[in-house]
Symmetry: C2
Subunit: 238 residues, 2 copies
């Protein structure tokens, strides 16, 4: 019998404001919702609400189409490409994405949302609150929407995690024919973020989802910045 | 009430051999399995079994660690990067991936599996068989495991599709605050492939999975090569 996964949004989170205790709001929403959390669940939280709760909001001139430019420069350690108003840069965390991940949509007019300062720490805080409240093992992923080279469209990836091994190493295991596997490290945190996006949508206002049914041994130590971000020495496209 | 997704593997497909009617085997496995297909399901099939069934297998010298090199050259239209034995190239389909997607794992020793010649056509064949047999709307995704720049670990992406809009355009819709969304095109076929990978594993021999619960309007016309592959004129990293 193969694995079975359930992915569902957590309703009732509501609009998030600067200073809100996001972890407590998620706990509340779970407690008042139809689904209890169970051991081994992975809770995916979008960057938008994390950035808002952590007050990573910056006032910008709503009539200046280039108002985000100095913010992009401030949040970047390295510019990779520039085309018109689009900048692909490396953020202070080590992420490579458009406009340093700065968000102008789903934010009130005249405001921009920066990425969380330390998105793994953001995930840890939420995880600690969930573990404390419910007394079960859960993983937490903070997700964001990134473009990629070579392929159209955006997908959600993990920018922070806690209680989950972001990359699961299958090295040394053998495939169905007994050969040693060659491609071995699966970025499960990114795949979980993508799966969650399928129930969140972009405009539906569902900022938290649960992915239920991943193998128990995927829960464990690790962080996105430590395990999922590729070092430049190791990268062929920087 | 937010969306709810179920993702599960289809058991009982068994080992695939050259010339097998993969679509018929999937139909059989569904008919003998515990889960019927329902209208709106997306069936994800890994490249490995598609390539085997379509006899995209090539004999190689099992003792030559560089035996795949001429195959990579043959399957590529453009080399982007080379480091040691690793080649990042653009395939004849337009995919950019390692070693032209040629697979040496999960294939018998002494054989390499090339990508399907036309992976969207492969998806269409399977979809046509499923629609013909069950009389419902289903989408089909052919998935493969690609690395990416900047991030460690591999994820599954779509290399072929049928009956599914690979990129869903949210342009013109507004976000929860009534602002027009800026990032609008979501590569749902890739997110569906990633979600399916979470139940397939690499070594478990579950080559087919079902993703149930995507919005009905995601089913429709489109192809991965036509809609998801970014043209080089439009790409900052080629």
């Amino acid at each position: 019998m193969s694995r079975r996964l359930e992915v569902f949004g957590v309703d009732g989170i509501g609009e998030i404001h600067a200073g809100d205790d996001l972890a407590a709001l998620i706990v509340d929403a779970v407690e008042h919702g139809p689904d209890e959390l169970v051991d081994g669940d992975v809770v995916v939280v979008t960057q938008k609400v994390v950035s808002k709760a952590e007050n990573r909001l910056v006032a910008i001139d709503p009539d200046d189409p280039h108002a985000h430019r100095p913010l992009v420069a401030q949040e970047s350690v390295r510019i990779l490409r520039r085309r018109g108003d689009l900048v692909i840069s490396e953020t202070t965390h080590g992420f490579i994405c458009a406009n340093a991940g700065i968000d102008l949509s789903n934010v009130a007019r005249g405001w921009a949302a920066l990425l969380p300062e330390d998105s793994d720490r953001s995930a840890r805080r939420i995880r600690d609150a969930l573990v404390h409240r419910f007394g079960i093992r859960v993983g937490v992923v903070v997700s964001d929407t990134f473009g990629r080279p070579w392929r159209r469209g955006v997908t959600d990836v993990a920018i922070g995690s806690a209680g989950l091994r972001p990359v699961v190493d299958l090295r040394g295991t053998t495939d169905a024919l007994g050969r040693e596997l060659m491609v071995t490290e699966v970025a499960v945190a990114d795949e979980i973020a993508s799966a969650a996006e399928l129930v969140m949508g972009k405009a539906d206002g569902v900022p938290v989802a649960v992915v239920r049914g991943v193998p128990g041994d995927w829960l464990g130590e690790g962080s996105v910045v430590g395990d999922l971000v590729r070092g430049s020495e190791d990268d062929l496209f920087r």
